[in-house]
């Protein structure tokens, strides 16, 4: 490793405290080997982390050169967790090499995120290489490594840990760097990309903040869901972003990623912030003044100031941080009169509850030309039993009454990983499957539903069923309304990770612009599955061409806001004709 980089690392990632202690954030390892950065659960466990997602084969070591403040004895702690505690060897074990010495202690062995102690180590050279050595290939995870001359374990979790982290890394929550834009879009799924393009085409200076290296959200090659729905008024824009109709999980998604990136990157006034995750929205008098974001590997922070923001995060994060009203779970059947007798309670319950459609982890196998042995996975047995499968489809979905799709997303992802590894292991045991191999298992949770931010209009099942037309209909769809339920609700013997869909066929229906901006946060739009809809209302338009239409529609609205210096609501109240003309004019631009 070159000297220059060591200094850089030292400055940004390894900060010294008087007691000769320092913290290394695993995601900032400069050579990640086969480990991947996982920033999905920052809000729950405190930080992005490195994940050894090797599908059963240990991944290559992650490496980093560190400069210790002094030579001498240091205690070592590693923040990690045993992700499947039980009467088996923990599946995600790894070791840490410091210089020449591999610490005896195996990590990833304690339930729940905590600091596992690695013993005391003698540092004889200040510049020392550190490596993470994966032992299993089964999703071991490392959040951070802490060296200290003092034997004092850092706080395990929650606020205390967050506070300690600030102190030990000498960071401030408030970014020093500030950038200004006309329009800030957070979340680069199809909705976010479409919104950025629509606004940029109207001349706005746009920031698109996205926490992954690739755009597309659920449609990206990282999750591989194909886009459904129609183009509405935005065919030209959406064709730049959508996918063909391949089976979910298909590697054809890579080509669509390339198309999407080429198309977004060609707009000079779209400033793309890939691998940046927003973590706060600063609000004054119900107006968002800025959004703060952090790089998922380097930890660098930027404050994005703008008069207008769009929450396209799927999970409604910006709205949540800004204090916007939102809904989560199933409304009672009477709240919006959304009953459908054919499916009764499964469709819409008499009493409201916290159930939502579940999340999925897609996967795919292929037949290799050589045989291949898959390790034993006893830690999947209580999830899969004898269930066997050679691929995952959308039915592989997990929702549980005690789980929240945002707060418990890591546990949901992990449950699905167990379902996948276990079903695959069972399938492998069948004769003729010696060559069956994983091609890919996602480590990202593909979500369908979580927070829905409330707008001036709440789109419901009735709007779809009755095909209500609005003066501000900006999104058009013909896709059936479908809502899912877990199979084990009707038959407790079914695996808990499989769902079924209930489809309600409709004619053409419309979503009004008023469902796409917040009722209480004055300068915030929302597009994507966090738009203003009831649980059943989301059933139809959650698909990605429809969410793309929403994105494009609010991108155009942002340009009207800018032109007159007004809020999203005022576009509806005072400039609706002009806005609708702008929306409809998009149809003419299809070549």
């Amino acid at each position: 490793m070159k000297k220059g980089i060591i200094v850089f690392l030292f400055l940004f990632n390894v900060l010294t405290l008087p007691s000769q202690s320092f913290l290394i954030e695993a995601e900032s390892f400069d050579t990640k080997g086969g480990w991947v950065v996982d920033p999905q659960f920052v809000e729950q466990m405190g930080s992005p982390y490195l994940l050894a997602h090797g599908l059963g084969e240990p991944v290559e070591n992650a490496e980093m050169e560190v400069k210790f403040p002094t030579q001498g004895k240091y205690h070592v702690w590693v923040r990690t967790k045993n992700w499947v505690p039980g009467e088996w060897e923990p599946p995600g074990r790894f070791q840490v090499r410091v210089g020449e010495k591999v610490l005896d202690q195996e990590f990833g062995v304690t339930p729940g995120w905590s600091w596992e102690y690695g013993g005391e180590i003698e540092i004889s050279e200040r510049e020392t290489e550190i490596e993470l050595v994966d032992l299993t290939g089964f999703d071991g995870r490392c959040d951070a490594i802490y060296f200290s001359t003092e034997e004092k374990v850092p706080p395990a979790r929650g606020e205390d840990l967050a506070q300690w982290r600030f102190e030990v890394t000498n960071q401030k929550n408030v970014p020093e760097k500030v950038e200004h834009f006309d329009y800030v879009v957070v979340g680069g799924g199809i909705a976010g990309c479409a919104s950025a393009i629509a606004a940029a085409e109207q001349g706005l200076k746009v920031a698109l903040i996205h926490d992954r290296p690739v755009l597309g959200g659920n449609a990206s090659s990282e999750i591989r869901v194909h886009t459904l729905g129609i183009y509405g008024h935005f065919e030209r824009i959406l064709r730049m972003l959508d996918t063909k109709h391949y089976p979910n999980g298909s590697p054809e998604a890579y080509a669509e990623d390339r198309k999407r990136h080429k198309n977004v990157e060609k707009y000079e006034n779209i400033h793309l912030y890939l691998n940046w995750r927003a973590y706060d929205a600063n609000t004054d008098d119900d107006v968002i003044e800025s959004v703060d974001a952090r790089h998922t590997s380097t930890g660098e922070r930027i404050r994005f100031e703008a008069p207008l923001f769009a929450d396209c995060t799927g999970d409604g994060w910006i709205g949540f941080w800004a204090g916007a009203e939102f809904m989560y779970g199933r409304e009672s059947v009477d709240k919006f009169d959304e009953g459908w007798e054919e499916f009764g309670e499964l469709w819409s319950p008499e009493e409201p509850d916290g159930v939502v459609m579940g999340s999925s982890v897609l996967w795919r196998t292929y037949k290799d030309d050589k045989s291949y042995k898959f390790p034993e996975v006893p830690w999947t047995k209580d999830v899969v039993g004898d269930f066997a499968a050679d691929k995952g489809t959308w039915h592989w979905e997990y929702s549980r009454a005690d789980m929240h799709q945002v707060h418990d997303a890591e546990e949901i992802r992990d449950h699905m990983l167990r379902a996948i590894y276990g079903s695959f292991a069972n399938e492998k045991k069948k004769p003729g499957n010696e060559q069956l191999r994983f091609e890919w298992v996602s480590y990202l949770v593909g979500k369908r539903e979580s927070r829905r931010l409330i707008g001036d209009h709440v789109f419901t099942f009735n709007d779809a069923r009755d095909q209500t037309q609005f003066p501000d209909s900006v999104v058009v769809e013909i896709r059936e309304v479908d809502v899912h339920y877990q199979q084990n609700l009707k038959d407790a013997s079914k695996p808990d990770f499989l769902s079924k869909a209930m489809f309600y066929k409709t004619g053409k229906y419309y979503i009004p612009y008023r469902s796409l901006y917040s009722r209480d946060i004055k300068n915030m739009f929302m597009a994507g599955r966090c738009f203003s809809a009831s649980h059943v209302g989301l059933g139809g338009p959650r698909v990605m061409r429809t969410t793309g239409q929403m994105g494009a529609a609010v991108g155009l609205a942002a340009s009207i806001c800018k032109k007159y210096g007004i809020t999203p609501r005022e576009v509806y109240k005072e400039h609706l004709d002009e806005y609708m003309n702008l929306v409809l004019s998009q149809n003419e631009k299809v070549n």
Binding site: E350, D402, N488
Partner: protein
Amino acid sequence: MLKLATGILLFIGQIAFLQGDTAFIEHNPVMAVDGWDFSDVSSEKPAFLLTDDSTLIEYDVVMLSDEEELPYAYTSEIVTPVCDDTLCALMNIRVYWNLLGNYVGFDTVAGKPLTKNDHIEFRNNDYVKLHNLLMDDNSIIKRKAKKELFDREKNRVSELVDAVTGATAKEVKEAVVDGALYSCYTLYHIVHGPLSDSIQSDMERHFNTSLQEKLLGSQHADYQLYALKSLNKSDFMSYQDRIIELINGAIPLNRIYIMKKMPAEMWRNVDFQLDIVKGFEDFDVNSRTHLLNYIYKSDVINFKSIVELAKYLFLMTRNQVKVYVRILTKEKSKVSPEELELIKDMLKGVNTQHGYLFNDLTW
């Protein structure tokens, strides 16, 4: 013409009896949903006629009653043309529905076996497959129009995907009897179509307390839920014994429905509460969550419930253990520090997974 045929065919192949004035046939369908037995049927009478608007076929629906003269099921002998692109053939079959219009079985008509394309007769396993299809009230073919049965894209072979992408076509194929796609499709839509709704409406005309109690006492999940929905919260109090039985024995969907509907005063009843808690071990994961949440919400919590629940800590998910900890904290005054230590010890013994959630709990 078809109607006439139906009338004539109605009694062929079934043994007809005369009982009093009403002729009835012995019902012994070749395929019946588990738990369905027609030996108790003691009378039958015409219920209604329904004409399918699109085909103009008329269905003659008969209500079967049990010895207590309560409605038991409905049946109709169906004669319908099944057409593919070029030709049509008649299909004859007797179908049985329960009182809610849900499919419960079918019988063949003597001398009229079901046939596939090319007039090949159904074999036994084909009948089984048809039965499985009809039992699935949410089959893939339910929402497909006939012309959509074949995926138009089925021949698109993708370069990177090793299979043709006719995923839908494959799912349809898996659901239906090989070589009898149109028969299956036609019959499925008759069985799960408007007839089904009309049957339920007909039953509702006969609905009374006796029938309500019969449905509530039934082992069939759909009957239970229907009856439960017909009760108001205070009726729940009167049927307390059955409610407890159902909480222990029903499918998760029904059990959760009950817990959501149970009035607070039922939860407050300490004996009742303990009875429910004792079922924890046999509950599915979602019911366990609801149970814990309702106990937590109840303004009276039985100390015995808390101790009983501690036995199941090893079965609880992380979030469920968190709710348990909240219950303990809420009832702090009832749980002595010694008892708390005892509970913690129980946890140490059996549950190594989520024990850390108790670490900060002291008083």
